[in-house]
Assembly symmetry: D3
Homo-oligomer: 285 residues x 6
Amino acid sequence: MQKLTQTANTLIEALPYIRQWSGKTFVIKYGGAAMIDPSLKRSVAQDIALLHYVGVNVVLVHGGGPEISQMMKKLGKQPVFVQGQRVTDEETMEIAQMVLVGKVNQDIVSLINAAGARAVGLSGKDADMIVARKMQHPEVDLGWVGEVVSINRHVIDALTEAGYVVVISPLGVGENGETYNINADMVAGDIAVALQAEKLLVLSDVRGIMRNVEAPETLISTLTVAEAERLEAEGIISEGMIPKVESCLRAVKGGVPRAHLLDGRLPHCLLMEVFTNEGVGTMIQ
Amino acid sequence: MQKLTQTANTLIEALPYIRQWSGKTFVIKYGGAAMIDPSLKRSVAQDIALLHYVGVNVVLVHGGGPEISQMMKKLGKQPVFVQGQRVTDEETMEIAQMVLVGKVNQDIVSLINAAGARAVGLSGKDADMIVARKMQHPEVDLGWVGEVVSINRHVIDALTEAGYVVVISPLGVGENGETYNINADMVAGDIAVALQAEKLLVLSDVRGIMRNVEAPETLISTLTVAEAERLEAEGIISEGMIPKVESCLRAVKGGVPRAHLLDGRLPHCLLMEVFTNEGVGTMIQ
Amino acid sequence: MQKLTQTANTLIEALPYIRQWSGKTFVIKYGGAAMIDPSLKRSVAQDIALLHYVGVNVVLVHGGGPEISQMMKKLGKQPVFVQGQRVTDEETMEIAQMVLVGKVNQDIVSLINAAGARAVGLSGKDADMIVARKMQHPEVDLGWVGEVVSINRHVIDALTEAGYVVVISPLGVGENGETYNINADMVAGDIAVALQAEKLLVLSDVRGIMRNVEAPETLISTLTVAEAERLEAEGIISEGMIPKVESCLRAVKGGVPRAHLLDGRLPHCLLMEVFTNEGVGTMIQ
Amino acid sequence: MQKLTQTANTLIEALPYIRQWSGKTFVIKYGGAAMIDPSLKRSVAQDIALLHYVGVNVVLVHGGGPEISQMMKKLGKQPVFVQGQRVTDEETMEIAQMVLVGKVNQDIVSLINAAGARAVGLSGKDADMIVARKMQHPEVDLGWVGEVVSINRHVIDALTEAGYVVVISPLGVGENGETYNINADMVAGDIAVALQAEKLLVLSDVRGIMRNVEAPETLISTLTVAEAERLEAEGIISEGMIPKVESCLRAVKGGVPRAHLLDGRLPHCLLMEVFTNEGVGTMIQ
Amino acid sequence: MQKLTQTANTLIEALPYIRQWSGKTFVIKYGGAAMIDPSLKRSVAQDIALLHYVGVNVVLVHGGGPEISQMMKKLGKQPVFVQGQRVTDEETMEIAQMVLVGKVNQDIVSLINAAGARAVGLSGKDADMIVARKMQHPEVDLGWVGEVVSINRHVIDALTEAGYVVVISPLGVGENGETYNINADMVAGDIAVALQAEKLLVLSDVRGIMRNVEAPETLISTLTVAEAERLEAEGIISEGMIPKVESCLRAVKGGVPRAHLLDGRLPHCLLMEVFTNEGVGTMIQ
Amino acid sequence: MQKLTQTANTLIEALPYIRQWSGKTFVIKYGGAAMIDPSLKRSVAQDIALLHYVGVNVVLVHGGGPEISQMMKKLGKQPVFVQGQRVTDEETMEIAQMVLVGKVNQDIVSLINAAGARAVGLSGKDADMIVARKMQHPEVDLGWVGEVVSINRHVIDALTEAGYVVVISPLGVGENGETYNINADMVAGDIAVALQAEKLLVLSDVRGIMRNVEAPETLISTLTVAEAERLEAEGIISEGMIPKVESCLRAVKGGVPRAHLLDGRLPHCLLMEVFTNEGVGTMIQ
């Protein structure tokens, strides 16, 4: 009976948050440890199913760098990176697409289906959803690395209205039909803006933005855009976090009320953030 | 952090139930202690708001015998009962209507609104929703005591589709426009059938059906219609519970898959029943 | 046959008006003699049913001062008024709510149903429809007397679109969920503005605005807002009519094309006003 | 004021009928004197506009024999009839179409528009609405005289749902696209069946069915199908009335609850029939 | 097999055009040789059916001057023209209406139906679609010759949304219900503007605008509004073409992207214009 | 001009077919040479875009055996087949999914998008669309080779209604969420039945069913189900064609009016079949 009471109390404590988010859209950038550890994977899928059932439209954008590199190696090809960007020749692009769309995306769809919601996977090429162009680099030719030009939200809307969780692989299509590999953080930010989402939730492998990366107690709970930009300018944001912070800034500047950097290593970090008063990680608004 | 984890885990445990009930209709018969104790009142309202937000259409039918008797006494009129039925002369009918519609119903609407859902109160006279006729008694004239002839569900549908919790006072309208006072348990059962509800949940002041009323451990968790009728025939069901059991039987025979007798004295008994594996009280199916 | 011809001719004369009002919304403030005399009550209900069937969305706001005072006396409580406002302590508020919602409103619903349309009663507390705050008085504390802060029209729209006449009791809900008793004339004016009604029709116990209350022939048929305000400033409008005139002014200033002060003692005064060329009473535009 | 009261009373007396017919479909066969006398023409148009505004879907089928004969003569062609059927050669068919669709129908549309509703004229050829075949005659070749094979109601529905009164010329289209002239009474009956109309109202130049055509007091108010067939067999129904009675019988046998033979010489006979208790003419049910 | 290949190739070449026009509205002014020669008539009807099936909303406006004159002569009446305008007395107006609505329009409807689409004929009097006023002439009274005041597009929309091709006779209705005969070119231009059509296509009996009417090779393929107005001012546009050019200019100035003058003597000129790269005739944009 | 005329004539000859198929659903099984040769690939994509624009709902199911084998070899794994079925261990399943969903499907989506329609790729795992179970083989364990249990058409409907061509990879999901590789011919047949398609069109690398595979002139144009089964029993159908014929039989028995075996080596064979009188290949009905 004590267990029953506790269950009921917890649900009631979540009620104000359920009320607040019902009918809204959340864009989740999924990657890092939460996409590797089987137990964390299941936990994320459950969080998404729950969000779905309390009335949130969930759109997930995933990355997949490690899986791509692993497959490249299996196929006897050495990954090359320039300043964090994967140099993407024709063959690499093909492998990346195959891994992202044919493996990573489908695995996520299966996980969410298993958790009881119904998910549909899309790539940015489906319905010409993500229009892209070649990313210019001052010194090297990055190959088929692209950046977002525009988002056609119509297919996402058709699927969320039909009751599906949408899972998106970060590929884009150029004006001649060519395929681009795009940074998933950036795609997530742009999709959050295109959908006028209520929240962008970015999963990473750190606790959030910390003044001192070594000292967990220096975690910053809340930042304005201006403050985040100052921290970035001051070099306090670690290199690995820069695309994630940039994605959040893009979203907030584009009209998304709040963007969150969450620690994906924490089971159920999505629920903790959105259904409790304390929240976890860093919120940019 | 431990608290956060526990919150998340509880929500995840509730997920299969949320999935199961989302989009379904529950009819709740509200009365007894749960309608008197302020803390229980708040607890029921919160349960309803939560059910509403996870996608359940909630329709509540309330009683109000004690409040009617109290107001009658204030107005210098002595309540008279024959075999549990209130003898209802013209003046009593007017007081009953005033108390049920103008006091009890409005209080419940306020409580649910305060818990964050939006409720609308109706009587069975609104939109000629509950069509009734005089209840015949072999020996005495019970006055304006009625029984349900038919339910016009259109106004209930219009309001639930518009996103409201509907709160119903158990009055009926006769073929000449006259008003009838009807047993709320019976109204709840008939409305559950008319709406083809997924569940009828009847709150009472006992733990459920017990083989021995003195021995809580004799609580019966599950009963078929046939078994319930046998228990009734054997006199094992206490007199006070008979209308509640009858209401459940009527619902199940009319196509409602499950009807529940719950202990309204237990805070959050609605959530305990529908969001946990164990359940509480007696289920008739 | 002569009778038949006359019937046909009358209907045909009404045709231009039917065409004009079809699909529009009328807000009716119901009170005074028309709410007491049984034959007048039936006449108002028939007028409303007819308006409903020729395509007008009818929303009625009722008062109920005399019924409240009567019930207070029955319960041994003396009504107290300060400058026309009822001092409303907790107990008075409870009685007022019970009488307005549980008696007056339900009686009107029954009358309209009997006349062949289908009506649904609401109080301003249902769906948090009328948001209110305490009315401040320079000298005395009026208790739970409120004024309108805002109107949530969604529930009214849901019911009129579903084909119902809506009957509203003039209660409001404060920001902490407390109940306020509000002047029905004012509620009617505010609802007419919120619904962007075509007409506000206020029933009273006088013939309209007269230059000389003793001389019926001084009835003013048409007034602009400016003229009405001048008459008010000059003290020509009797005290009892001030809230009604204020309600009309509020409506017209808020975008309602025409507001009418009608003599509710006249059977079918609503039909006479809206379906004939001459009209009755005073129109403010 | 007396006039106002009378207007109001008349409207109220019509209320039960308005309620009864609102949302239903009436098919009117228009012809005879009511299509010639300017004042009667206006009266029919007003009746239709009123029916339209109280929520009736009005579909009118017109004839036009005299106008066709007149135009034929102007063009130097002699009309020929065999047993009441116009022998219709190619040229006659062309004239008939021109007169029915280009003159009679458009005049009716103008009259209804002038009365304040909005009408749209169609021929049975529009949208292949009336599919027809050649009518066989045992002895003579009647030329392009047709009979109804089937009715495509889709275009009628599209226009009534869009708020228009539909005016139909009785032409049909054969399987090779050829045009047929069809008896308007029969078309009206078939359209009433296809639309599952509530009423078929046939205007003629007699008072109804009379046992003795010379004695108005022998008018029969109500007939069953069986009785009407008996009268027909007994030769009591005059030759001119036979197609009209046949049309009514076809309608009632096809599921139309009531068909009426009305005296079109009586101004506002439509309103008299449908909005009063007495009714006029003969009803077949 | 060669034939099959050619069919497939042709369809594929048409694909980019089909894509471009799908879901758009085309207004076609139909007249001249294309309305006389049986084979051209069939060809236009097929073109329209094809446009309809690849998703174009087709609205056709027809003329009929020769047919009117012919009927007038048959009825012993001499047509009179003043500067190209038909002087239209009462009787002429009646004949014009009869011929346009009852003959020409119905013939076109039949042709389109035979080609496999479904057409519905309307005159500008139906649903008060074309509101008109008397055209003033400085010297003579032209009688019932009108010009467009405004277009009520609602009935056109209702029919195109229901899947019909709409065929319109160029009559208008004045403010007192009187009928006007209007130049069909002008009606077509105004309807194209009212519908915000993608194209206005005007069929004529010349190849387009030519610098030298005698020299086909001087055909001008494309003109801006300014250029067309200059040519008109310079007297290079032949008198007979002036109303057609004016109609095109009106359309383009009113927001129609492109208006085309096509040679109706060319079979399938509509398809040639809209489904090939070269196009035919003169385009004004 | 001759070219223009020919274009127009061809389009007009296609009109009756366009009319016939507009609004219907075609399921296309895509594979073989038509999926390898770049020019054939483009031709299929164009055919699909054209079908889409003339109002056909196109759903394509693709195979991909050769691509899977090729990738397996690149990854150092030897494909093993038992009676035409690929023995599918865990690693093979993963490669198959990656190649089908991440490469073949996306390539088809790109081709169709380039041809001007908008395509969306799905696997049978998306939205749990294809529910499957393990295929039993009497002697060997085929691993993750499955057969269809049921099709959830909801996601296909959502996308076709939103205006997309749907491209499906033949994977299925088992009751424990496991992935199955399924024969694409069979999936196409089952989806045609689930969608109650108008046609199933199966592309292969032969001309159709021939009595003598060596003699093209023995091609059979039309077969009933019974005849096809007889030919199969007589061993006249070549082994490679058996799954394709079986898929057609399944479709026709399940209510699809016609199934076609087409020669995918023929450019635009889809258009030739559906837009000409002759047709190509073998039709089973």
